[in-house]
Symmetry: C2
Subunit: 211 residues, 2 copies
Amino acid sequence: MTQPKISDRQPTGGAERRGSASRREILDAAARLFQKNGYGNTSLRELANEVGMKAGSLYYHFASKEQLAIEVLGAGVKGVAQTVSARLAEAGADASASQRVSIAIRAHLDAILNDSGYTSAHIRCFPYTPAAVQTQLRNVRRTYEDIWTGLIDDLLGPQRDEPDARYLRLAVLGALNWSLEWFDPARDSAEGFAEMVERMILGATRSDEHH
Amino acid sequence: MTQPKISDRQPTGGAERRGSASRREILDAAARLFQKNGYGNTSLRELANEVGMKAGSLYYHFASKEQLAIEVLGAGVKGVAQTVSARLAEAGADASASQRVSIAIRAHLDAILNDSGYTSAHIRCFPYTPAAVQTQLRNVRRTYEDIWTGLIDDLLGPQRDEPDARYLRLAVLGALNWSLEWFDPARDSAEGFAEMVERMILGATRSDEHH
DNA sequence: GTCGATGACTAACAGTTGTTAGTTAGACTA
DNA sequence: TAGTCTAACTAACAACTGTTAGTCATCGAC
């Protein structure tokens, strides 16, 4: 009676190192719950229940809730950064600045609307996360930010205005990220929205004449 | 049972009543805390402490935390809706569609960056709020949404594409709302950002030729 | 001067939170 | 076969959550 039979749990595939399967399961579930309910409204018991564990068992895999959040949200930024980088690399070095921007728009949108949920968990949760978590994530975030800074700089050319480049970048990312709050796959088209954002950013750069 | 039944107190429909000063204080503090920490991370004890009360005393003024949130977030939408409407009315009926849009952009930005915090509390908290709260706020939100739908429809003219109007509206509001996550008064200029968003939305509409 | 309403207080409730300590079954390794 | 490692378990902790019940001082109206 001391221990119920847990013996029949054997989801461990072959490829991964032995224990890492359930660790991955926990991260996946955490990303889903963080994305849906936010960091503060996701309890470790709910998370544990989602993966068929008890809350205490999570501490075998992670040192704390904060540490778990750092891993989930960290994977989220890395994921979108990699997606965007890969698509840009695919396009080759001869792609124009505006072509590269529209590739990045679609890649970013893909990452937050279709991917596993890590990136959207990051976007939705980061601002409400404890200070320690935010500090730990600063560098990875900066890395991704720099990709966009480069894209926008190339688009605006050498005679750009510094605050304008910043505002353009933040406006575009804001428009994209906000889609997490309204996008409905049954109603909306990611490609349609991407085209609109593209039209906006290109329109804003082209219209520098009436300044 | 010396306590009289306070059960049937109304939510202060009309003009200011006698005790409404501290009630207002509570709402103000709640807006501040909701905006800063989110709904879930704001405890009633923290809120009470902010206004020099004990947690239990809040229940003299509000039936529950959810009810309090409904009032704060409700005031937030109503506030921005009123700000935008007022500025549009000021502009008169002979203002062009694009003039009206740029007025609305600045009014919305003003409401979330400079105002009392109710509107920004709404924007930052709404998605993480209990379902009951979201349901209660649906109508007020719809009312404000309709203002923007009208503005965009006028801007795009009669031969507009329906999803495009929706995407344009949501992209603009997303760009504006996202500023809550990065805007730094010491570094950024609201007017500068407003000009950028204006350039984007006008650029997107003007470029319909290459379709 | 008494009365009732106002607007706060104290103290506690029941539930939940993140977290820790100690235990145990099974699987690998020597 | 004995010993160690892995990955889960149980049970509890202290702190905190929203909420309620009951008390009490103040103050204008009669």
